[in-house]
Every structure is written in structure tokens, then in C-alpha cells.
């Protein structure tokens, strides 16, 4: 089955600093991720995984090399164009949820549509779409709650709903369970796994093996280079067993 590539990076390099002291955060990386893949990017801190994540998320630009997102070369785009790509192509799920405080779950989910210049979505439709994705993450009854009234797990589900609302080609999850207890964490991972099952392309950045276990493929970085890129041998059930163990203690 021929699958189109969502991410294709060629000789991607990112250098921080100027003058004498230069840090090569990414050193000429090649990577391709196809539509529908669930890839975990792993590596110790300082390995360049955050830098890669920022570039993949179009929050940052590479020093050199090419980045094609859904066959569109985004490595040379300016700030405004990158904002449009983030808006319509990418859904972010952050470790600390990053919801707007004192703003209802519904309005948080509507936020990406607010900045969608291309499709002028009517207010009514924005409501409808936001409600629908909230329903999909099981929070239809919490739509008018504000972040401070939601648990961590619920907040992260709102964040996932926000990531999904503009039908992105790529979901970027950066340590999505880092602030959660294991029960909530499993819920979140189950939602991501479910999204993957429905055909979404997901890139998960984590240093936790048990989270990486959910992915089909694991890319491990070290010192700005890809050290390891293999299909996942583990089964995602490990985390379930762990939870059972936890419960029996």
C-alpha cells in the first residue's frame, strides 16, 4: 500500500549561537514519516529532540536543509506563513497543556479556528465543530468549564481537542503525560492510540519507554544525529500491566 509522506526532512541542520561558540543541535538529519504512522522520538536531554520537535512544529526554522510537510517545502517560509502552517497543518499537545486561563474549554478549542484566515468559519460552525471534538475526547459536558476547574487529564483532553479542531495532517505531542498521574496518562495515550487507529499521523516526543511503547516506530536521537530508527518491538500492553501492578501495591 503506497502511503504519502507527511514529514520528509533532508540534511536538516540547526546550529545555535554565533561566532566562535556554536552548538550543532541537529546535524544533517534525514527522516521520513508517512501518513498514518505513530512515531516516537526519543533521546536523552541535549540530544536535539526538542529542537527537532520545534522545527517539525514550524515554531523554528532550520539553519540548513529541507523540510517538506505534506509535500510542501516549509523550510523557507517566513513567520506569517509558518503561523498559517501551524494553524492548519499541525496540532500541538504540550506537556503543560497550554490552555488559555479563565477561558472556557469550548473557547480554547475554538482558538485555532479564530486564526484560520483561509476558511472563514462562521461563529455557529466554530461552536459546532469545537463541541464535536470535545465530545470525541469525552468532555462534552465540560465545555463551559475553565481550565482551573478541570483536572490535569481533562485539561490535556481539551488540548487534544484543540489540536484536532482544524483537522491537521500532523499531531505533535511533546511529553503529553509528563504532568499527569498514570491513570490520566493512560487515558491520554489511549486517545492518541485511538486517533492513530483512525488514521492520524502522530509524532510523540518522550523520554519514557512505556509511552514510546504505544508507537509503531521509534526514532532515537543522540548528539544531534539519529542513532536508531526501528519499528517498535514492544507491545503497548506493557503500560497496562504496569498499571495493574501499581494498583496491587
Amino acid at each position: 500500500m503506497k502511503q504519502t509522506s507527511i514529514i520528509r526532512i533532508l540534511k536538516l541542520t540547526k546550529i545555535y549561537g554565533m561566532g566562535d561558540i556554536q552548538v550543532k543541535a541537529l546535524d544533517s538529519i534525514d527522516l521520513e514519516i508517512r501518513k498514518g504512522e505513530f512515531v516516537a522520538i526519543m533521546g536523552p536531554s541535549g540530544s536535539g529532540k526538542s529542537t527537532l520537535m520545534n522545527i517539525l512544529g514550524c515554531l523554528d526554522r532550520p539553519t540548513s536543509g529541507r523540510y517538506f510537510l505534506a509535500d510542501e517545502d516549509v523550510s523557507g517560509l517566513d513567520k506569517v506563513q509558518l503561523a498559517a502552517i501551524r494553524n492548519r497543518r499541525i496540532g500541538f499537545v504540550f506537556q503543560s497543556y497550554n490552555l488559555l486561563s479563565r477561558t472556557s474549554a469550548l473557547e480554547n478549542v475554538m482558538l485555532p479556528m479564530l486564526y484560520d484566515r483561509e476558511n472563514n468559519i462562521s461563529e455557529a460552525e466554530q461552536h459546532q465543530r469545537a463541541l464535536k471534538v470535545l465530545e470525541n475526547v469525552g468532555l462534552a459536558d465540560r465545555s463551559h468549564h475553565q481550565p482551573q476547574e478541570l483536572s490535569g487529564g481533562q485539561s490535556q483532553r481539551v488540548a487534544i481537542a484543540r489540536a484536532l479542531v482544524n483537522n491537521p495532517v500532523l499531531i505533535l505531542a511533546d511529553e503529553p503525560t509528563g504532568n499527569l498521574d498514570s491513570h490520566s496518562g493512560n487515558e491520554i495515550m489511549a486517545i492518541l492510540a485511538n486517533l492513530h487507529a483512525q488514521g492520524s499521523t502522530i509524532v510523540l516526543v518522550t523520554h519514557a519507554d512505556d509511552l514510546a511503547a504505544y508507537a509503531q516506530r521509534i526514532v532515537r536521537l543522540r548528539d544531534g544525529c539519529i542513532e536508531y530508527d526501528q519499528p517498535n518491538g514492544h507491545k503497548p500492553s506493557t503500560i497496562g500491566e504496569k498499571e495493574e501492578n501499581h494498583g496491587s501495591i
Binding site: L59, V80, R86, L111, P112, L114, Y115, R117
Partner: protein, 411 residues
Amino acid sequence: MDLSKVIQIAWKGLNRNRLRSLLTMLGVIIGVSAVIIMISVSTGTETTIKEQIQGLGTNLVFIQANFSRGGPGPEQGRSTGGLVYDDAFAIANEVNGVTGVSVEQGSSQQVKVGSVDIADVSILGTTPDFPQVRGMAVANGRYFNQAELDRKQKVAVLGASLASELFGSTPPVGQAVSVGNTTLTVIGVLGAKGLTSGVDYNMVLFTPITVMFQKFTHNEFDRMFGNHVRVIYVQVESQQKMEDIIYQIELLLVKRHKVTLDSPDFVIRTQEDIISAQEATSAAFRNLLGWVAGVSLIVGGIGIMNIMLVSVTERTREIGIRQSVGATPNDIRWQFLTEALLLSLVGGLIGVLVGIGGSWLFGALGEMRTVIAPSSILLAFSSAAAIGIFFGYYPANKAAQLDPIEALRHE
């Protein structure tokens, strides 16, 4: 993103911190209301002055002696040294288009009627044209005529308040009143009139100017040369003929005083001249007040900038979140600029209301008259808006240029 959305977002941003927003607006509120109140006070003063000058009468020309020419010098053989009573008659008789001439010479005397005794009553020697020229009505009895003036008849016409203070409910006409050492007979009472050029004509006793010269001038010297007058009021037929008549008067007086047109010993002015001189003064005053108020508006603007900068720092995370879901630098810039603009506009609106209320209160409680100029409201409000944009731009731009990665990492 449409405008209503931008405004909605900005409004929510401000609402999240209501007390701070209100305090930020305070500077603008004070500035705007200060502009409106100060302009209303000076406009009120101006209007009052204008009305007082108009209240002197209509189509008036004022002739005043001008001693600044250098004073009488023996070598010049100067004949008059100022205006004399006869000049007034010459003008009345020889200049065409003059409908009335009035001269005034004042003094103050003790006035007594029976047991009522008032010190320092202002006595004004005038001519029969006075009520007409100065736009005053005789309420009771009559004003004196030319015959009485010529015969130096000892008659008096009383201002309305003076009449009631002296006589109470007794009809004053026909009664005697003693002024200094002289006894005058009251022949008329004037109708009440407001303050005119700061003079309360209701408390004045009017008498023929000839009687004035004879009885009430201060000293022997004045009595000898006592036909000098300070001002001659000339009423002319119409505004159109004013210029022509002024020229005729000039020619006449120059001839009578034996001076040249280049260096006359008198000054002729119209009501318009006086009004415009007054206006120049009060415009300077108003401008000064305007600048003071303008400075407070600028201080208010700096307050807005200060708070917006704090707000941008505090909300760095929010900016990062918005950027991550697709807000462009322009979206962010507009959001914060709109917040600043809303602060200044709402502040401006409250300031306008406070200004109107304050002007009204000033007028109602104080002695000051206030007139709210619509242009001042427009001026104050639009300056507030301009200040919002000007001082809001820098913080908004700072927000727009934040790096999304840094902003998201901000705690």
C-alpha cells in the same frame, strides 16, 4: 480575523483584570475631563465678557482720551489735553449717522434718605441719551432731558436696587435724596440690569453731567477744568456706517483738538475691537489650560504604555499559546493595540461624562460660569484615542515580536 472578534478578545483581556484596567484608565479619565472642564470654564468666562460688552448697548463707538501721546507740552500750545464735554455735543451735532451720544463722569458720595444712609454710592453724571445708548430702560418716572441738563437742574435717576434700598416700598419718584451736601429730586427709577463690564448699574445714582461737574467733582482743580470726560459713548445708526462715522469723528476731534491724525490725543474703539482684544487674552488663557490638560493626557498615555508592557510580560505564555495555534505577529499586535485603544477610548468616554458633569458642577456650585464646547469634547476624545494608539503601539509591537518557543517556555 474580523474586527468584532479582535475587539471581543481585547475586551476579555481587559475584563480579566478589571481593577488594573480601571486604574490604567484613570489617567485618561482625568486628562479628558480636565480638558473639557478647563475649556468650559474659559469659554464661560469668554461668553460672560462678550455679553457684558454687548450689554453696554448696540452699535457703540467708544472714544477715550489718550495721554500716552506725551502729555501737554508748552511748545505745542496744546489746546485741550483730552476729551471735554463739548466734544460730545460737537459729535452729536456735526457728525451724520450718530443716533446718540453719552458721556459719563463718575464719583462716589454718601447718599441719605431719612434714616437710611449709604456710604460710597457710585454717582454717574450722564447725558439724556444715556438710557438709549447704553440700552437701559426706565421703569418708573423718566430720565432727565436736555433742558434739565442745560439748567443744571438737581435731579436724580436711581438704579433699581439703590431705589429699593433707599426707599423700600415708598414710591421714590418725587422724593428728595441727599447726595453729599446737595439735595436732589428723584425723577425716575431704572429697570433692573445685570452686571455690565463689572459695574452694577442697579446701585448707581444718575444725575445730569453738568450737576456732576458743579457739585460732585473732587477738588477745586477738577471743578475749574471740570469739563473733562473719560469716555464718550457714541451710538451710530448701523454697523455698516460705523467705519465712515468713526472717520468723521476722527476728523472732527483732530480739528477741535488741533492735533494731527497721525498722533491723535484720543482713541476710538468699537465693541468688536474690545471683544477681540478680550478674546485674544482669553484665547491665550485657554491655550495654557489646554496644554496643562494635554500634559495630563500624555501622562495618562504613559500609564497605559506602562501597564501594557507589564501585561505583555505577564501574558507571554498566552502569546506563545496563541502563536502555536496560528496567530501571526499581526494578530498579536492588533490584540494588544486594541486593548490599549479600548482602555483609552473607554477612559475617554468616562472622561467625557466626568468632564460634562464636572463642568456642570463647577457652574452650579462655584461663581464660575461654564459653557461646554462640543469641539472640546471631540478634541479630548480624539486625543485620547490618538494617545491609545501612540502609547499602545510599542508594547503591542513587543508582544508581536516574541519568539513562540521562548514565549511557550515562559513561566
